[in-house]
Assembly symmetry: C2
Homo-oligomer: 213 residues x 2
């Protein structure tokens, strides 16, 4: 079973590495990081780089594709050849998935028309631009397309997917293996966050162009 | 504020990238991945590589060090020069931290003597070999030394640390920014895991030498 994870400059590292850490533990899985070209892809702050071991021209099919997000997704979306690649891989998959603003890439590729989908809460309204139905949920399944909310939600999405692929006992073992027994220090919901917390985030995402004022 | 994250062949990617994703969002933080030498470091399954942008010889101090784990930590521990580097950086830090079996590196460097500490549940008894007090908790703080449990626990550890560095409002904003509002599909505790789940894990960790029969 081949699992392809898209990598690009401006990726959010955890969007890719959360699902990677889960899915590479699925028995028989062969995970490959795929970029427009081979080589290092830097995160949006440029302080971490992950390697694309293969270029899109080398990968023509996959059982699972994971499309991560990050501020660099806008550049991916602007390239017709990359959207065509996503569509062509999707035609071969058992599961097509996204994390965070990776859903906007799936949307731009035309794969979310008429479907419920999620993404990072700050980008959720944008899904409507692609004919999707913005849905505030951590993971949304619509047939073989699974979208996850922001960044860390890729872990939850991948564990659910591991259950579909390898059964719940194996997926449960993977969760205990990565000791995913969360004890976050704060309430992680943006809907319940206090005003000073949301003020910081609104400022950040407005400056980065993800939210409009 | 310089935050150094150790990278090595055989690293568990999420051990490093969980804390990275949190700490690079701390205002004023400059995160750097540091390896014995510069260049790509492959995870234990070899299917993902992250880049060490600096070598240990280039980094002589840090405000925060994060020591991740993974099966490759045994090779790090076997190198006196690497342990000496960890000790020398520790002498300059405000916070010295580990995730998963990274605690065994801190232990081998002699930094955990007489201290409560945690690591991946499968490796917990090994901490006693270094004079530490094995402590089953997700995050353990002892003065400036903070150890976290397995893999995904580095996210919780880093959020607590972000609160210490930048205050709780900022740390809360970081948590909402990475949408860390977990909805794991299973119970993540190894203590409560059903026998068939633990059988899979005991087999896996025994074959990898982390647990003894």
């Amino acid at each position: 079973m081949r699992i392809a994870i898209l990598a690009f400059d401006g990726i959010t590292a955890l969007d890719a590495v959360g699902p990677y850490e889960v899915l590479q533990r699925v028995p028989g899985a062969e995970v490959v990081l795929v970029g427009e070209s081979r080589g290092l892809k830097r995160t949006d702050t440029a302080s971490l780089a992950i390697n694309a071991d293969r270029s899109v021209s080398e990968i023509t099919s996959a059982d699972v594709i994971v499309v991560p997000g990050g501020f660099g997704e806008q550049q991916v979306r602007a390239k017709p050849a990359m959207l065509e690649w996503v569509r062509s891989i999707h035609a071969t998959t058992r599961w097509t998935t996204s994390v965070c603003t990776g859903a906007l890439i799936l949307g731009a590729a035309g794969l979310l028309k008429g479907l419920a989908a999620t993404t990072h809460w700050a980008a959720l309204p944008q899904l409507a631009n692609f004919g999707a139905i913005p849905t505030s949920a951590r993971v949304v399944e619509q047939g073989k397309i699974i979208t996850a909310a922001g960044v860390s939600s890729g872990i939850d999405m991948a564990l659910r997917l591991a259950g579909r692929i390898a059964g719940d006992t194996m997926a449960h073992a993977i969760q205990v293996g990565i000791e995913y027994d969360p004890q976050p220090p704060f309430d992680g919901s943006h809907q319940r966050a206090p005003a000073p917390v949301m003020a910081i985030l609104r400022d950040f995402y407005t400056r980065r162009g993800l939210m409009t004022e």
